[in-house]
């Protein structure tokens, strides 16, 4: 019998925590920027590349879009992080299981974009 391993817990907690903090900070920064410029929030997100570009230039629209994008990526990060943990634990069965899930996620993403 195994108690859900501490290592998985800590690694995942940390990964999620960082991802969420980055996401929240980006969104709040974008919010502040919009308020300062007296503008309402945009009605559509920017695509990933323009969002990144604009965010780097500290434009509100980019910051907001990037913040949402990072949030949406947190589950991908979580699964990838769990994969690494299982690998390091030499738990081949669950490394495989997690790899399958990650693969299906990415395939769905690609198929969905088509």
């Amino acid at each position: 019998m195994e108690v859900e391993s501490r290592r998985i817990n800590k690694a995942v907690q940390w990964t999620l925590g960082v991802g969420l903090a980055v996401s929240a900070l980006l969104m709040i920064a974008g919010l502040v920027g919009s308020l300062a410029a007296g503008r309402r929030l945009p009605k559509a997100v920017l695509e990933p590349e323009p969002a990144l570009q604009q965010a780097l230039h500290l434009h509100a629209a980019g910051l907001l879009s990037l913040g949402l994008l990072v949030l949406i990526l947190t589950p991908f990060l979580r699964v990838a992080g769990t994969l690494v943990v299982f690998l390091r634990q030499h738990d081949w069965r669950y490394t495989a299981v997690t790899a399958v899930v990650l693969t299906v996620m990415i395939v769905s993403l690609v198929v969905g974009q088509a």
Binding site: M1, P42, A44, M105
Partner: protein
């Protein structure tokens, strides 16, 4: 003004959703469309964002406490994500209203089945995916999983439905894990909370890529939920299991009624 309204509503939805292992999408969409006049497509995009935010934020707490059964959740997600991928095919074969009716029937079954189960009397090691977690109060609850193939099949169906209705599927996952697979309620909630994030992530990413997420609505939703979903697990830890079960039943019944209404009125 709408910004603040969405923020507050989302915070509440985040608390409730994270306590029950559901994503809040099914609660948020009606509120956004009926009371705040948000168009359906935008509301669904928002719903996906809310499911992910609920999942990731609550998992920080649930995983930290070891309540989430990561191995079980990950295994079930194999069939769930495949189900979601197949959802597109199902959409062609079954009409939307039939689907909603089916979903409502599942919710009613789940709410009914939860009755009279005041305690998780069936928690026992089975040699299958055995694990344990520490319940509020300090007792260690050890349990294994039963009816695994059935659980996998149910997850496939849940994934299918999730993809089509734009939700995380938690309302199906929690009852299936708790009632069919005999996972203690708290662990079922935490594990479902983990799974819904994975299920919603690809749909959300696709929506984002197609420019269908609206920051004006999604940002206050995300921020509200990020706060609410960190409070929820902590409130849940102070809530007796029987009461959690009752709250879940009430929510399931309300959602079922809502679904039936939609299926009937088209």
């Amino acid at each position: 003004m709408t910004f603040v309204a969405i923020l507050l509503v989302s915070a509440v939805v985040g608390v409730i959703g994270s306590m029950l292992g559901i994503g809040g999408g099914l609660m948020l969409v009606p509120i956004l469309t009926l009371f705040l006049g948000v168009p359906v497509k935008t509301a669904i995009g928002c719903s996906l964002v809310s499911v992910i935010a609920t999942s990731s934020a609550a998992q920080v707490v649930y995983v930290g406490r070891g309540t989430t059964h990561t191995r079980l959740g990950m295994t079930l997600e194999v069939t769930t994500t495949l189900g979601a991928l197949a959802g597109g095919i199902t959409a062609i074969l079954i009409s939307g209203r039939v689907l909603q009716g089916l979903f409502a029937a599942i919710l009613v079954w789940a709410a009914y089945s939860m009755m009279g189960r005041g305690r998780d009397a069936d928690a026992a090691l089975t040699g299958r995916l055995d694990t344990s977690f520490v319940a509020p109060g300090g007792a260690e609850v050890a349990y294994g999983v039963r009816h695994f193939p059935l659980g996998m099949a149910a997850s496939f169906v849940a994934g299918n439905v999730s993809g089509l209705l734009g939700v995380g599927g938690g309302v199906v996952k929690v009852p299936v894990m708790n009632l069919v697979m005999r996972v203690p309620l708290r662990a079922a909630i935490a594990t479902s909370n983990f799974m819904i994030g994975v299920t919603a992530a690809t749909s959300a990413a696709v929506y984002f890529g197609r420019g269908l997420i609206e920051p004006r609505v999604a940002v206050p939703t995300a921020l509200g939920i990020l706060v609410g979903a960190q409070v929820g697990p902590r409130v849940a830890a102070r809530t007796p299991t029987a009461r959690l079960r009752l709250i879940l039943q009430v929510v399931l019944v309300v959602l079922a009624v809502q679904m039936v209404w939609k299926a009937v009125s088209g």
